[in-house]
Each structure stands twice: as structure tokens, then as C-alpha cells.
């Protein structure tokens, strides 16, 4: 935990809006990236991002002095994704055989890709099962340690490492010729 983050936590505990703004600026892009790649809908990701930071604001005065804000925010974001996914599953079940709106095969994320390799990579991440995708995103993109990810997801570090290995294998298979050369030899 760096000095900036310690100062933000202190500020948040006092209800300092400048500390909240600094936290939001530092983490909004990271949390939004995680959310949008998990739920694959920008509107839902925006709602979940708002709920994540609302909860930070509402719990600010009860944060422990040694709170790691990244882990705290990703834990909330992960729980919101789980709740949203469950609600989606229930809705789909209740709808029975009523035809559902089929998702656009080209996601808004894929529209951001400016090369074939980026497009292949975005699709490869999207094709991962959510349990593997979240581990790959938190470790690969966010740079969190497996032990930290285990804490966020409520799993053992060993389970996270196994998922990480499977995610990498599946990504390599999905990427095919777009996989880095080192991946193909390992």
C-alpha cells in the first residue's frame, strides 16, 4: 500500500471529497474495464460501476486504516457481477421459451480493437468461461497477485492458480495464430 493510497483511505474515513475524487480517478478505468469485460454490456457496466463507488462512499467512514482500495473495490465489483449474473439466469429461466434478444455477435469491446490481433484477443477473452475470465482479467490486466485475487473471489490461492493456468491454455487455443510465439512453444 503506497503513501497516496494510505492518504486516500484516511481522507475517505474523514469524508473528504478530494480523497474520494482521487480514488475515483485512480480506479474508475480499471474497475470499469473489469466490469465491462465481465458483463459485456456498457450500460450494465456503468450501473455496476456506479454501485461500486456508491458503496465505497457509503462505507467510507467505516474503512479500516489499512484498507487496500483496489482489493476492496474489485471485491465489491466481483460481488455485483455475481448478483447480476444470477439475476440474469433467473430472468432467463422465468422467461422460459420466450425468445430472448440475441446479443450482438460483435460486442462494443470488439469495436474498440484497431487490429486483427486485438480483435482476436478481445474475442478470446470473451469466450473464456466467466470463472476463468475474471481470474485472467484480475491477474493479467490488473496485475493483482493470485493471493490477492483469491481474497477478492473468496477462493484458495491454489484454485486461482489452477484457473489461471486453464485460462492461459484456453486463451492460447482461442488465439491460434495470434498467440504470442512464446505461448505456442510452452
Amino acid at each position: 500500500m503506497d503513501a497516496d493510497e494510505r492518504a486516500w483511505v484516511e481522507g475517505l474515513r474523514r469524508g473528504d471529497s478530494a480523497a474520494f475524487d482521487a480514488t475515483f480517478a485512480a480506479y474508475r478505468k480499471r474497475v470499469y474495464g473489469y466490469l465491462v469485460r465481465m458483463v459485456r454490456r456498457r450500460d450494465v457496466a456503468e450501473d455496476l460501476l456506479q454501485e461500486t463507488f456508491l458503496r465505497l462512499a457509503q462505507h467510507a467512514n467505516r474503512l479500516a486504516a489499512d484498507t487496500r482500495l483496489g482489493a476492496w473495490l474489485f471485491t465489491v465489483a466481483h460481488r455485483l457481477v455475481v448478483s447480476w449474473s444470477r439475476a440474469q439466469a433467473v430472468r432467463a429461466q422465468l422467461a422460459g421459451d420466450i425468445p430472448q434478444r440475441t446479443p450482438d455477435p460483435r460486442s462494443p469491446l470488439e469495436a474498440l480493437a484497431d487490429s486483427q490481433a486485438q480483435l482476436a484477443l478481445e474475442r478470446a477473452f470473451a469466450e473464456l468461461a466467466p470463472t476463468y475470465r475474471e481470474v485472467a482479467l484480475l491477474v493479467g490486466v490488473e496485475g493483482l497477485a493470485p493471493a490477492e485475487v483469491a481474497e477478492i473471489l473468496g477462493h484458495t490461492p491454489e484454485a486461482v492458480r489452477q484457473r489461471l493456468a486453464r485460462a492461459r491454455t484456453q486463451l492460447a487455443a482461442a488465439l491460434g495464430e495470434h498467440a504470442p510465439a512464446t505461448w505456442r512453444t510452452s
Partner: protein, 72 residues
């Protein structure tokens, strides 16, 4: 090996396109959340379970009274 998995995922993730919110949406979200800073969880989180418990209790009482009425 795990370290290798981590490193390889870091390596490839750098190639993912950057995603961010548009400024207006980001400001709206920040403003909305900042408004609740230090206020604690909303009251409706406490009120809803209380209402649900009261309804359940009322229904249970009604059931007991009906049963007494039938037996009596």
C-alpha cells in the same frame, strides 16, 4: 508453472484495447457517489427487511387465528 502463466497473461493483456467511460458519464457517477460520501448505507436497506418481516409475521398471525377459529 504459475509465474509463467502470470507473466504470459500480463504480456498478452497489454495488447488489449483500452476501455474507459466517456467524461460525462464518469462525472455523473462520481457526483452521485460523492453525494453519499460518509452517509452510511441507505435506510431502505434496513427498512425493506423490516417490512418483509412484519408482513411475514402478520401472515403467520392470521394463519394461527384462522386455525384457532377452525378448531374452536
Amino acid at each position: 508453472m504459475t509465474t509463467s502463466d502470470e507473466n504470459q497473461l500480463h504480456e498478452i493483456s497489454r495488447e488489449l484495447p483500452a476501455i474507459d467511460l466517456d467524461t460525462t458519464t464518469a462525472e455523473r457517477i462520481a457526483r452521485r457517489a460523492r453525494h453519499d460520501l460518509g452517509k452510511g448505507p441507505p435506510r431502505r436497506r434496513l427498512i425493506l427487511p423490516i417490512i418483509a418481516a412484519l408482513v411475514a409475521l402478520g401472515y403467520a398471525l392470521w394463519g394461527i387465528l384462522k386455525l384457532i377459529e377452525l378448531l374452536g
